[in-house]
Subunit: 210 residues, 2 copies
Amino acid sequence: MPIHYPNGNAYAAPKQSSAPRKHPNVLYGGRGMTLEDELNNANMYYLQRGRAVVYKKPTPIQIVKVDYPARSKAVIREAYFKTPSTTDYNGVYEGRYLDFEAKETKNKASFPLKNFHPHQIEHMRACLTQNGICFVVIRFATLHRLFVYPATPLITAWDEQTHGGRKSITLAEIEQHGFELTPGIEPTVPYLDGVDWLLKKAGTQRGEQE
Amino acid sequence: MPIHYPNGNAYAAPKQSSAPRKHPNVLYGGRGMTLEDELNNANMYYLQRGRAVVYKKPTPIQIVKVDYPARSKAVIREAYFKTPSTTDYNGVYEGRYLDFEAKETKNKASFPLKNFHPHQIEHMRACLTQNGICFVVIRFATLHRLFVYPATPLITAWDEQTHGGRKSITLAEIEQHGFELTPGIEPTVPYLDGVDWLLKKAGTQRGEQE
């Protein structure tokens, strides 16, 4: 997240697939791509195969001034970043509503909760109440490990933090309550594997037999 | 829709609730508000009451140049409107994925299909395949009539049009295959009534008893 605007939110700039990566010499599926690039590719992959319809939401912008030059496209000349009200990704998978956020950390032992904004947590809480499938795709960039972490334990950790609890989720907790994705060739971030795991777990908790 | 950018798409400008309306002297629920305003209010209403979590997606923008003035917010100085890949609204309602577009016409007898872009139709087609709940909220502004029209007959009309069929859907067809919303005081556009109708209809078609 190279750019932050003054309210502290990260600005997800239009990514170049040629953007320098932290570990250019490490060989793995999505090298040279940000997590956002890889998720967008996964979304296109799933869309083309009819498996799911998921998109990243555009960055919300407050437009103040637009020019309309003759014979060319409208140009936005003054605009400001707005704080998003929701998570970045949502869509539909076999009739179910999916809602997720993607986060990366260079930490090796824990994931800092400051990566989330309060409204993102509240949005996930509201979506869970509506029986949506909510989670975070967390990448430990240094470890090259990738998890689908359900919103429920994330919200628990968040609520504990606001009452003086720890300011991060340990990797051990993520291993225990999350689903580790095995990076593939295509898609490199096969997050629907984690969704299938979540749906199976939810079914089991409702007392269904596996 | 006061502004169109050169690819023909309407630009949904940041609306002012004081924006002049076509019929300032007509008394009804959402007077002085655009359909977009009213849908945003309905979404807030449903969210606050825990009934559904639905948001309008931000307008997609391609950012080219950003200034970072000292001690003030980042300013976007050059950016362009991009064609959206999807419909404008989506979210979750009792575990089901909702996806819809909102369109207004001044016509009195039919709704022109040119109000849709091909990618919006393709998006709805893909969402239906995933068993999402897809529809359009259509307002006949002059008639003060408001409908939830399911994506299925819309896509049928679209496909017929591409094979030389009519370029619009008649009001009679919309009355027959859609659900007319009764404008309320709050929300003024109670579109979940139409979603309940759609869900009930889908259940009946699956052979369930009412």
